[in-house]
């Protein structure tokens, strides 16, 4: 069953896109992430231009983080003050990301930037997650308790000025790293079409010592707002958001996420992190192959004016 996508300007199989939405939604629900880092590459490998993929996936992640944020809100596990501070950096980061996206697209270097960002970010983060989760599993086997939060250990981030107390997370920390983290997530999210949950959650846990109880709900709020604003900004500047594509993805995504969340609850958290790390690393390596192997087509065309 084919449907013609008005902005991507090509027909796609609606059932295939729906299935992809379901599958990525399942994984995102299982790990409590947006799943953009899987969805954007899948669309690119399907032949949709990287620019349209990134811009449309931002809408899809907004939908999945919306349903996530609502359920965390009901459980009262969102640190609103922390979310707002992250957002202050996040919005600026998103705007900068969209600006750079537009500039790179003009220069013909957008696709390669998306590719390189995926390789660097995903292999580094995937590798770190893998190492951390293997250590945690080994520690658990030796019978020691798995402790993510080590309250005693402080490093330079905790010495920064303008400290604020975030009551719900029970942390007392400078707003500078909070803004910086928000900025980084918004910036890469807008360029790469990712919500950044897989990046944000470890950052909040390891750098800011946010307890696991509030970390996912709070990160969902940041993802929701940065991705929603990225969608509007991409639509306003590059006119590349394919609403039809986004709608099919989000329907598959939100349904899949519900089943994924149930599957995720049955698994141990360090096992989950190991799986997620492997997944992140695999996508990064797949992108690396694309960059290093001689391309099938040395030449490519980009329309700069007139109907695409």
């Amino acid at each position: 069953m084919q449907i013609y996508l008005p902005i991507a300007d090509q027909p796609v199989n609606i059932l295939l896109i729906l299935a992809m939405g379901l599958a990525v939604g399942f994984i995102s629900g299982m790990f409590g992430i947006g799943g953009g880092f899987l969805m954007t590459p899948l669309l690119i490998f399907l032949g949709i231009s990287p620019a349209v993929s990134v811009a449309s996936v931002t809408g899809h992640i907004a939908a999945s983080s919306m349903s996530g944020a609502i359920s965390y809100w009901r459980r009262r596990t969102i640190d609103v003050a922390l979310a707002l501070m992250l957002l202050a950096g996040g919005i600026v980061g998103t705007a900068s990301g969209v600006w750079l996206f537009t500039l790179l697209r003009k220069l013909g270097q957008l696709d390669i930037t998306i590719g390189v960002s995926y390789v660097l970010l995903l292999t580094i983060v995937g590798g770190l997650m893998l190492i951390e989760s293997v250590r945690a599993i080994l520690r658990a086997q030796k019978g020691k308790p798995v402790e993510l939060r080590r309250p005693g250990s402080h490093f330079w981030i905790h010495g920064l000025p303008i400290k604020l107390r975030f009551k719900r997370s029970r942390i007392y920390v400078s707003v500078i790293p909070v803004w910086a983290i928000g900025f980084i997530i918004g910036f890469f999210g807008a360029i790469m079409g990712i919500g950044g949950g897989f990046l944000l959650v470890p950052m909040l846990i390891y750098l800011l010592r946010v307890p696991t109880a509030t970390v996912i709900g709070t990160s969902m709020v940041l993802t929701l707002v940065t991705m929603a604003s990225a969608t509007v900004m991409h639509a306003a500047t590059n006119h590349l958001v394919d609403a039809v594509l986004a709608l099919i993805l989000m329907i598959g995504g939100v349904v899949g996420a519900q089943f994924g969340a149930r599957a995720g609850q049955k698994m141990r958290s360090e096992r989950l992190r190991l799986l997620l790390g492997l997944l992140v690393l695999a996508v990064g390596i797949r992108f690396a192959f694309n960059l290093v192997l001689p391309p099938e087509n040395l030449y490519s065309i980009r329309v700069i004016e007139g109907e695409e």
Binding site: I7, A62, A63, S71, V232, V254, Y299, R302, G306
Partner: protein, 259 residues
């Protein structure tokens, strides 16, 4: 398909028109398209337009050994850049580029036999018939130590792969010595805009008649609304997409609520 009865009608109309035509010229060329407007709707997967034509020799016209037809279909004009990847620090990046400030988004040459068999090279070059002879002016971006030709060749090859540039030496079929038919294949990726069909009649290596037949490709219905909204009201379009996302997310959280 729906086109069938219309096709038959067109044939009859052309035959009648051709028969009634009175002209001072030696040959008259009459053409008609099966459709003058192509609608891109949500189930659009590409389409074929049928071009019909009749040749009407006048009384006293010299006897010809045979006719040849070359139909040139040109889509709306685009400005585009062709990039070439090169290896930089082990990875492949777009290093060299050429800008083509004005090229047709769609280009097809349909003829009843190979173009070189119809007229000589000079004529093909002069009339810009054939992908090889069609002029695609380019502008060099910055350093230009590389030749321009590979970029032109690559552009034509990539466009041919997409089905947007085509050269079909058996694209025109003569039904009778004076009546011909051609299929204009429009792929799913066909750009919207005005298309020109330029039909030329050749005999003994010389052009003896020529007639135009334009048609329109337009998005229709939902496709048209979405595209227009995205281009003209980007902010509202973005807000509407976000609204849709939030509604979908909210709806899912209600439907699947467990607590």
């Amino acid at each position: 398909m729906k086109a069938r009865p219309r096709t038959a009608l067109t044939l009859v109309a052309i035959a009648a028109w051709a028969a009634a035509a009175v002209s001072a010229q030696a040959e008259r060329l009459v053409t008609s398209l099966s459709d003058y407007q192509v609608m891109i709707t949500s189930n659009f997967l590409g389409t074929n337009l049928v071009l019909f034509g009749g040749i009407e020799p006048e009384a006293g016209a010299p006897r010809r050994s045979g006719y040849d037809i070359v139909a040139t279909v040109t889509g709306p004009s685009q400005s585009l850049v062709t990039f070439r990847k090169e290896r930089v620090l082990g990875i492949w990046v777009n290093a060299k580029s050429r800008e083509f400030p004005e090229v047709p988004a769609y280009l097809a040459f349909l003829s009843n036999r190979p173009l070189t068999a119809i007229v000589n090279h000079e004529t093909l070059l002069r009339l810009q018939l054939g992908l090889e002879y069609f002029s695609l002016p380019q502008r060099s971006n910055g350093t230009s130590e590389t030749s321009d030709e590979p970029f032109r060749v690559a552009l034509i090859r990539l466009r041919r792969e997409q089905g947007l540039y085509r050269e079909e030496s058996n694209g025109v079929t003569f039904l009778t010595p004076f009546l011909f038919r051609a299929f204009i294949a429009l792929p799913a990726y066909v750009p919207v805009g005005t298309y020109q069909v330029d039909v030329r009649l050749f005999a003994e290596g010389a052009q003896i008649a020529r007639t135009p037949a334009p048609f329109e490709v337009a998005k229709y219905g939902v496709e048209q609304i979405v595209t227009a909204a995205a281009r003209e009201h980007g902010v509202f379009y973005g807000l509407a997409t976000v609204g849709m996302a939030l509604a979908t997310g909210w709806f899912a959280s209600i439907v699947f609520r467990r607590d």
